[in-house]
Amino acid sequence: MYKYDQYDQAMVDARVAEFRDQVRRRLDGTLPEDKFRPLRLMNGLYLQLHAYMLRVAVPYGTLSSAQMRVLGDIADKYDRGYGHFTTRQNIQYNWIKLEDAPDILADLAKVEMHAIQTSGNCIRNISSDQYAGATADELIDPRPYAELLRQWSSFHPEFSYLPRKFKIAVIASATDRAAMRLHDIGIEIVRNEQGEIGAAFYVGGGMGRTPMIAPCINAFVPLDQLITYSEACLRVYNRYGRRDNKYKARIKILVHELGKDEYTRQVEAEFAHLLSQGIEPPLAELERIKVQFADPAFETGLPDSVDRSDPDFAVWVDRNTAAHRVPGYAIVTISLKPVGGIPGDATADQIRLMADLAKEYSFDELRVTHAQNIVLPHVRKADLYALWTKLDEAGLSTANLDTIGDIIACPGLDYCSLANARSIPVAQKISERFAGREAEIGELKLKISGCINACGHHHAGHIGILGVDRKGTENYQLLLGGSEGADTSLGQITGPGFDEDGIVGAIEKATEVYLANKQGEERFLDTYRRVGMAPFKEAIYG
């Protein structure tokens, strides 16, 4: 894992001091709210319906046990005993007092964490593949590149007041687990025909009210030009992105309106100019970072089999573990989607327990996934049963990864001031309705947003639900056929919306159509793609 040196630490400490000063000026009235707002947003502090919400950055989703433990302590000390893991691999606290925020940032800084740029119209926390460094299907660990970009994008002097927020994902596996092409910039680390490592840039993806899949604008940027190329992409956006309408201000609109070719031409021209400016860190810096992501001390000669005599355990192993690249190890996903629970929520005790388990079983490391779960990346197969037993005792052994109960839901009307409808109660109802049918229905990614801003990624769900306001009452639209993996696609609306009970019934009908039409090993998405919308529509509205 990356460790701060004195420079990184000094920057984060400086930020704490700066924010403490800003909060002091806000509280004594010298800094008016309209001026304070963008400053607090750049420190992850939102004003929600009932209280302040603080969003803490988890760069590329990677955490140490010590960091995770502090996240649990903060939930106890400053919140109501809960933390909420988000679709950006971050954690947020929903009940924060403004006066406490500087102290929380100071607590975080002690374990090399911060809330820098987790909101506001700036470059947000960089996300990545939650299986990075552990999965067999990756080219290389993408996190060193994400860390290089983290440093470049932190307090960037030119890009702190962009037209709109800006999200970057970095992956290095064709199995895209980070929804890379639905980001403002998606970077895939690739190998070219000469065998060299470089970066493919996908620019202009996003969800929100105008979902777009990012086109590739450059299939191979050499690693020693990564920062310069990123700077060129951002500068063109900062200069020409729309500022007249906040709904048209994301880079996807610029790329769409200019056209991919013209945007690319402008980026290449800016890039050619910037190459002469000496803004690229030397490759030695990337090497310095890479060393810190070296493999933990994996053992060799471990048994690769698992004793499956406990049937509940066997179900969990099949559902919630993934292949590790080292024999004898597995990647474990801890589901934060218990039946009837709030997706992504964990109690302070659960957070600390996961910290302890990571220390004991996973070389001190955890990951946050964009599907709002927690990963222990390096667990010996021989330890799986002991681990599962402890998770089970703490209510953390739900075996539903990537099934209909593993719902992504935004905070919705329960917390969010922009919401049209509640997301959480709908997620709870669906997970209760379908509990126990994980094996039968199989992989089915269901995503819920409480408004068109699409924080719950509803466009990218095999089944998506969008909360809308219909004449003052909450109404839910149903979408089918979205996906965020290597086969990214956007869901299509089935037709008129439903009330809360109606939407659950409509989903039930959709799963019936799937099960009736399923061929062989087809997933819900495969069947939908093969048979099309018509039979689903007929069953739902017929």
């Binding site: 920057m11 700066e18 440093q151 960037h156 002097p157 803004i279 030397p282 310095r288």
Partner: protein, 142 residues
């Protein structure tokens, strides 16, 4: 005209009124120009030799186009005064300075104690720009 509150230059301030970017190309003797957010700073590049003052207007602090305009001028070798005017607050000063601004004329005067702190906040910087600060990666690798 709003007063220049902070200036990091030794030469005499330019007293000429600043003309718009559009008008500037035709006025062969103008030495001061004012960039609005929608203007292309690169239109000025053929004339850099005779420019002694560029004002970059920030009608609203949230519109960050002026930061790019400033860097583009400095990257092209402009050495005259680069003045941020308009909705400039203490919390933007550091980033503006890094982008090449060396004079500030905020529409609402800033508290000198706050401005001093604003420039002293950051011990180091992560990015290279045209200012004289050494980025952290260079400190690490020499």
């Amino acid at each position: 005209m709003v007063e220049v509150q902070l200036r990091f230059r030794d030469d005499d301030a330019v007293a000429d009124p600043a003309v718009t970017v559009d008008a500037f190309g035709d006025q062969t003797n103008a030495a001061a120009v004012r960039i609005e957010p929608g203007d292309d700073a690169r239109d000025l590049l053929p004339h850099l030799e005779r420019i002694r003052l560029v004002e970059v207007n920030f009608p609203s602090f949230g519109d960050g186009r002026g930061y790019s305009a400033a860097r583009i001028l400095r990257e092209a070798g402009y050495t005259g005064e680069l003045r941020a005017v308009g909705d400039v607050a203490v919390d933007q000063l550091h980033a503006m300075r890094r982008c090449g601004f060396d004079a500030f004329a905020p529409e609402h005067p800033l508290d000198p104690a706050h401005t001093e702190r604003a420039f002293a906040t950051w011990p180091e910087v992560y990015q290279a720009t045209t200012d004289d600060r050494t980025p952290i990666w260079k400190l690490r690798h020499g």
